[in-house]
Structures are given as structure tokens and as C-alpha cells.
Amino acid sequence: MTNDYSLAELMICAASEAWRGDGEVLATGIGLLPRLAASLSMQSSNPDLMMTDSEAWIVSEPVPVGPRGGYEPKRETWMGFSRIFDNVWGGKRHAMVGPTQVDRYGQGNISCIGDHAKPKVQMLGVRGFPGNSISHANSFFVPSHNKRVFVDGEVDMVASIGYNPARLPKGYSFDDIDIRLIVTNLCVLDFQGPDKAIRVRSLHPGVTLEEVQANTGFELHADAELPVTPAPTAGQLALIAILDPHNLRARQLKDNPPGVRASLAKTGGAA
């Protein structure tokens, strides 16, 4: 096994696991790294996935990111926005999105920071978060794991429904909500703690539970023994190089850190 991979590549591989076992669903990765993660899954762990060209067509193979040169997307089905909603409401989709805030319930926010009536910072708006979160599986991608993202209390504007008993609509149960993974620059989280509590699933090489907890605004569930997030395989790295021929992934995380922290790499890898 090699230590010669970037944190971005580690996160792509960890995030691609979100779609394993999903079968024939539409995979949507919002942002470059989640899109590469979905693309990688379609080319490895789940070839039955469907993806779009991020414009208006389902393609038979993931479209490499960035300038296309002579590459023509292999379009197989028209998939304009109106049909995307038909798909969303039918439930055969798993999206990986990047909320600006996430709380202990898995509620996400991309709408605004501060009071909704007069926000401190107006962001995108709720977009499709409310409908996605009540209709199909969702995972989150958080490139900078800190307490501004993983907030104490609730997110400022609950754009996506989470496992919050106080907000559960009448007649609904947690079984109607399906949040799978949260992939961050420090770790992978899931919702398999007690009563859907957020649980540490694996730590990236060299990251401690203490560091993750110190950067999270609420208490995380964690087993005594925590696995290390698996390193990318040579096969995965080769696929990523094809899916991202211009190495745009190197520009997504500040300073493009290595997958194995430098201090560890010198001493021969993670303990």
C-alpha cells in the first residue's frame, strides 16, 4: 500500500462508498469532489448507477470533469430539470451535497446565516434540500471540519430534514429519512449511533477522535476502537486520474494536503 495519495483522493474514495449497494439510482455529487466520488463509484463499486452530464442528459459513463477536449458525453436519456424532480419524488436517487452548516440531527443549511428575516449572510437559498431530504437518500461532504459547520444547537435555517424528533411531521418516523454518510477532511461519520446519533465511522490517517470531537459543536458517538479510513487503491487512483484528467482535485482543498499527514509519513505511516 502506498502513502502517495492526497487527502482529496482519500476523501473521493471514502465518499464513493456512499453509493455501494444502492443499485440503479441516480447519483448526484454536488461540487467537484463529490461528483468525482459518484463517478468513481459508477466505475467501480456500483456500475448500475446513473449519472448526468450536470446539464440535461443521463450519460452511460461519467463525464470527466473540466475542459473536455474531444470527449463527447455518452448521452442516453434526456434529463432536464423537470425530469430530475420526477426522479427525486420517486425516490431513486442518492445525492451527496455540501451543507454550510450541519447539526447533531443531520439537519443541513445552505440558505443563510443569521436571522432569516434579515440574514447576516445570504447564501444560495434552500434549493432542493427540503425535497431531497424527505424523498431519497442523502450524504454530506464537508471539506473543512470545524465548529462553524458542525454547529452547537440547530442550524440557522433548517433546509433539509434530519433525525430530529421535535420536527418530525405527524405520521412520519425516522424510517422516512435516509441520511447515510458525512465525509469530511478528518473522518467519515454516519448515523448509526443510538437513535440515529451521528457516529464516527472511521478516522483519516493520523487523525484522532479528540481532534474530531474538538472541531465538532456537539458530542459524537464513537466506539472504543475506530478503524482508519481505507487508503485509495492503485486501481482507484488510476480511475480518478481518468475521471479528472486536469487534476482539478488538487485545487479543491487548501494547500492540497497529503492523505497521510506529513509527520506520520516520515515515521512510516499511521499507527
Binding site: 440535461a56 432569516h116 444560495l124 437559498g125 434552500v126 434540500f129 427540503p130 424527505i134
Partner: protein, 290 residues
């Protein structure tokens, strides 16, 4: 029947306080020439319903807007629309912030002439808290959000081509929700890059496949070459990245909007085209790669 109108005649049909739907999506296929015509007019107190881009931002900047019904307002490569953001953060506009799909259902309800469409979308979120007018109903032992009809007094759309009777063709990869906007509106006004004779649609049977609503939904047609600029009208032209950057940068300058308005809006559409580099240059704008 001849539905041709000038942009000024179209805007002359609009009144203060109206609810106006605007087609397109973010920086794509927005009826920007008609928006500029509104910016030059005395219209005010509009409620705007849109998958918003610079259309919403400019109307906010010019003080034309009382309320925005939106799920997002974005220029894509500039994620946060500068003047919409400014309007929100200074609290000068009312909003109804809803999910993208709720907007589909609201337009569909208006088009179907039903009061609401039940859905799970929005349940458990602050969309309900921030919009007290949204009610829930019960069926099958469950709560559902009753998305009310978003009835529009008028819709403004931009299409690739149309004939004088209001047969509209969108040749780009996506017609977005333009058909729903047309059906949800009491009257729909369309700008087109090219006005064609009806026999254009007869020459190749597939041309009619790119017509997404019947002409009875179209009230008026204005031929405005480059009328979507600076937004895209694929496959004719992409969006104007340099222009959007200049527009977005203006928000940071004292009197920035007024300077943009003086340079690009006040001067009228013919001079606008010239200052935007000319129609030939617009037609050369590369299509976006997503």
C-alpha cells in the same frame, strides 16, 4: 393572428404590484432585454417568482421588487447573486423561500387551476416556519404540505425562436420550467432571438418537438436578437462570464449599481448590444461546460 409587440409595449402591459414569473434558470435563458425594459420603466412593488439569476438581482437593485419567491438566486460560477444578497442582508425585500420542487408544484397547481398540491416536500424544515401562509393537510394518517398555487399575473420568457402567432421553440438542452410559467400566468410575454415564419416548423418535423407549450399560452412575442444576454441561450450563445464579473464587481463600489445602470441599461437596447460587444460577438460566446 399577430402577437408581435415591442418590448416597451410588453412592459406597458404590466402594472405596479403584479406577480411576475420569470423563466430560465440562474444564468441561463433569462429574458434579460425585457428585464432591462422594466428597469427603465416606472414599474414598482413587483412580486417576482423565479429560479433566479441576474434578473432577480437587477430588479432588486433597481428597487422594483416588493417580494421574491425563490429557491435560489445564483449566477452558477458566481454562486451568490450580488444584488439579491445585498437586498436580503439589508432587509429591504420580503421573501417566500421555498424548495425548487415546491415551486414546480406551485406553478403546476396554478396551471391546473387547483388551490394546492399536497406533498412531503418542506415538512420538518424551516420552509414551514418562515412561510406561515403554508398550511398542512392530513391524508392516510400523515401530514402533507399543501403547496398553494403560484398564480402569475404575467410570465416573461426568452426562447430561441417564435412565429408571430406565438409558437415558441426552445432548442437548448433544457426548457427548465418555462412551460409551467407559461401555463401558470394569466398572460405570457416572450422574447425570441429569431422571429420565424410558421413554415420554419414545417420544414423538419423534429423542429416542432422543441415546442413545449401550445400558442394559446403565448400572449405577446418580441423579436430581440441577443435578448437573453448576459445570460445564456444555448445553443445560440453561452453566458457572458466577463460581463457577469463586471456586474458582480459593481456591488462593491459606491454607486456601483447606478454606474452599471447608466452604462448598460439607461442607454437602450440597441446601444446595449453595441456595448456588450455586438450581436456577432454575443453569438460567439462559448457554451458553458458543466
Amino acid at each position: 393572428m399577430d402577437k408581435r409587440m415591442s418590448p416597451a409595449e410588453i412592459v406597458g402591459q404590466l402594472e405596479d404590484g403584479m406577480t411576475i414569473g420569470i423563466g430560465g434558470w440562474g444564468p441561463r435563458r433569462k429574458p434579460m432585454a425585457l428585464i432591462r425594459e422594466i428597469l427603465r420603466s416606472d414599474l414598482k412593488d413587483l412580486t417576482v417568482v423565479a429560479y433566479g439569476g441576474a434578473d432577480v438581482g437587477m430588479l432588486c437593485a433597481a428597487g422594483k421588487v416588493r417580494k421574491v419567491v425563490f429557491a435560489f438566486v445564483s449566477l452558477d460560477f458566481i454562486p451568490l447573486e450580488p444584488y439579491f444578497r445585498q437586498a436580503r442582508e439589508t432587509g429591504v425585500i420580503e421573501v417566500m423561500e421555498i424548495d425548487e420542487g415546491l415551486m414546480v408544484l406551485g406553478l403546476k397547481a396554478a396551471a391546473m387551476r387547483v388551490p394546492y398540491i399536497p406533498t412531503a416536500i418542506g415538512l420538518g424544515t424551516d420552509v414551514l416556519r418562515c412561510n406561515p401562509e403554508l398550511k398542512t393537510v392530513e391524508a392516510d394518517g400523515r401530514e402533507w404540505l399543501a403547496m398553494p398555487a403560484l398564480k402569475l399575473d404575467a410570465a416573461l420568457l426568452h426562447v430561441d425562436r417564435a412565429d408571430r402567432r406565438g409558437v415558441c421553440q426552445i432548442k437548448g438542452p433544457d426548457h427548465y420550467m418555462d412551460d409551467l410559467f407559461a401555463r401558470a400566468a394569466a398572460r405570457t410575454f416572450v422574447s425570441c432571438d429569431e422571429l420565424v415564419d410558421t413554415d420554419f416548423f414545417h420544414r423538419h418535423p423534429e423542429e416542432a418537438r422543441y415546442v413545449f407549450w401550445e400558442r394559446s399560452e403565448t400572449s405577446g412575442v418580441a423579436e430581440i436578437a441577443g435578448g437573453a444576454h448576459p445570460s445564456a441561450c444555448a445553443p445560440l450563445y453561452g453566458f457572458d462570464v466577463a460581463h457577469f464579473k463586471e456586474y458582480a464587481a459593481s456591488v462593491k463600489e459606491e454607486g456601483g449599481w447606478q454606474a452599471y445602470f447608466d452604462k448598460y441599461v439607461a442607454i437602450g437596447e440597441q446601444e446595449y448590444l453595441a456595448r456588450a460587444g455586438g450581436f456577432d460577438a454575443i453569438r460567439q460566446l462559448p457554451l458553458p461546460v458543466f
